[in-house]
Symmetry: C2
Subunit: 252 residues, 2 copies
C-alpha cells in the first residue's frame, strides 16, 4: 500500500502549507494529477481537507486534534509497547475499563486473549474485543462521537456510575505537572472523571509528546493517577515530577 503513505504525505504537505495546488501535489508525490484528485476526494470525505478548484486547503487547524484514522497509525510501535506494559500490570480476573483513543485501542487489543471483564469506552475498542472467547465484554451507553466513536453523554456516565472497576486505563491529550491531565473534548473529560471515580486504580497511558501538550478540558491533577505508562523518550523532568507526586512511572 503505497497509497496510504501518499495520503499521509499529501495531508502533511497541505497542512504545512495551508493549501496546495493539484499540480504541486502531483509533482511532490511524482504521480499524475488524476491520482491526486482521487486522493483529494478521499481525504476530503474524511474531513481532512477541503477541495477547491485547482487544489485543496487543510482543515486541520493548528492545535486541533487530528482525526482518529490519522492518529491510529502514528507511532504504532510505541503504542503497542505501552499497551503490552499495561497488559502486564493487569491480573487475570480483573474488571477493567478502557478509555477511548488510539493508544487505549492498542491496550484493548493487547487484552483480547485475557480472562477479564472489560468495558471499552469507544466502539473501535468494542469491535476489537467482540468475539474474544474468555472476555466478558461490557458496553456503556452513550453517543458515539463521529470518527473517534467515543461514547459520551449522560447514558455513558450513568453506566459508569453503576459499576466499580479494579483498574481504569485512560488516555489523554495532554499530561504534565503544571496542568494535570487534559482532554480536547469537554464531554470526554466528563467521562474520564466518571471513569476515575469508579475505579480503584487509574493507569494513564501517554506517549512522550503528551507531556508537552495541554488541551482545553481539565480532567484531574496528576496526583489522582496511580501509574503512568509512557515511551522511553519521555522527558525526565516530567517523569520525576510524577514520581514525586507518588505516581508509578513505567517507561517502555
Amino acid at each position: 500500500m503505497a497509497s496510504v503513505e501518499r495520503h499521509q504525505q499529501i495531508t502533511d504537505a497541505v497542512r504545512h502549507a495551508g493549501q496546495l495546488s493539484v499540480a504541486e501535489l502531483a509533482e511532490l508525490t511524482s504521480t499524475s494529477e488524476m491520482t491526486i484528485r482521487r486522493d483529494l476526494e478521499i481525504l476530503a470525505e474524511q474531513g481532512l481537507l477541503e477541495r477547491y478548484r485547482g487544489g485543496a486547503r487543510s482543515l486541520l487547524l493548528r492545535g486541533e486534534e487530528p482525526p482518529f484514522a490519522l492518529r491510529a497509525h502514528d507511532g504504532l510501535e510505541v503504542k503497542q509497547r505501552i499497551a503490552a506494559a499495561v497488559g502486564a500490570m493487569i491480573a487475570d480476573g480483573e474488571a477493567v475499563v478502557i478509555d477511548s483513543g488510539t493508544t487505549c485501542l492498542e491496550v484493548a487489543r493487547a487484552l483480547t486473549h485475557r480472562r477479564l471483564t472489560v468495558m471499552p469506552l469507544s466502539l473501535h475498542a468494542a469491535n476489537a474485543l467482540v468475539g474474544a472467547p474468555q472476555l466478558r465484554l461490557l458496553l456503556p451507553g452513550g453517543e458515539p462521537r463521529p470518527g473517534e466513536l467515543a461514547l459520551t453523554g449522560p447514558l455513558a456516565e450513568a453506566s459508569l456510575a453503576a459499576l466499580r472497576f479494579d483498574t481504569a486505563v485512560i488516555g489523554c491529550c495532554g499530561l504534565n505537572a503544571a496542568n494535570g491531565l487534559t482532554a480536547y473534548d469537554l464531554a470526554d473529560a466528563a467521562i474520564k472523571r466518571a471513569v476515575m471515580a469508579s475505579a480503584n486504580r487509574v493507569i494513564a497511558v501517554a506517549e512522550a509528546a503528551k507531556f508537552s501538550r495541554t488541551a482545553l478540558a481539565f480532567v484531574a491533577p496528576t496526583s489522582a493517577l496511580h501509574a503512568v505508562v509512557t515511551g522511553d523518550d519521555a522527558p525526565n523532568d516530567e517523569a520525576d515530577a510524577l514520581e514525586a507526586a507518588g505516581v508509578v512511572v513505567r517507561r517502555v
Copy 2:
C-alpha cells in the same frame, strides 16, 4: 465469491446429515479436500460445526436458532422490502429504537440517510449507522451476546428506562395469535419488553416463517403491537387475527 455459497452448502449438508466426511464434502462440492478443510476451519471458528478427524459434525441443533452470520443472508430481499416499508412508516425527526436481529439490521440500514435519532440494540446495527451524517446515534449499554451482538442486561434496561421513543421496531423469533411474540433468549425478551415500555408506537417486523414458530421466551401478546410488517407470503389466518386484535398489518 463462490466460497460463501460453498460454505452455505457445506453447512446445510452437514446439518442435514448430522455429520459428513471431508471426502464426501469434497465430492459434493467438487473441490479438493484441502479446500474443504480450510472451509471447515472457518466454519468451526464461527461455531457452525465441530471438526473431528476425517470430517465434521453439525452444531446446529434442531429448533435452536441458527447463528447470525447464517441468517443475515437468508431471505435478504424480503427483509429489505420489509425494512423499506418500515422506513416509510417513520417520519423525519422521530426518535426510534431498533431491536437486534437480521431483519432489524436491514431496517437500520434503511434509515441510514434519514434525519432521525436512533438507538440500535445491537452492535451490528450500530456499526452500520456509524458515520451517518444526519443521524443522531444513541447506544444503550449492556453485554453484547456473541455473534448476535445484541446488547442485553441491566445496563441496557437502565438505558432504555431513561428514554422515551416515538417508535420501536422490534424483531422476534416467533409471532402468532396463540402464543404472542416470543424470543429464543431470555435476556433478549426482557430487553424487548423494556423497549415496548419506553416507546409510544411498536412496529414488529416478521418474515412469514415467524408466524409458524414459537420460541421459549414469551415477550408480549400480539395486542401490545401497533403494527406488523411482514412479507406477502404471510398466512392469511394469522394476518386476520392480528387485524382483529387491532394491529395494523402491512404485507410487502
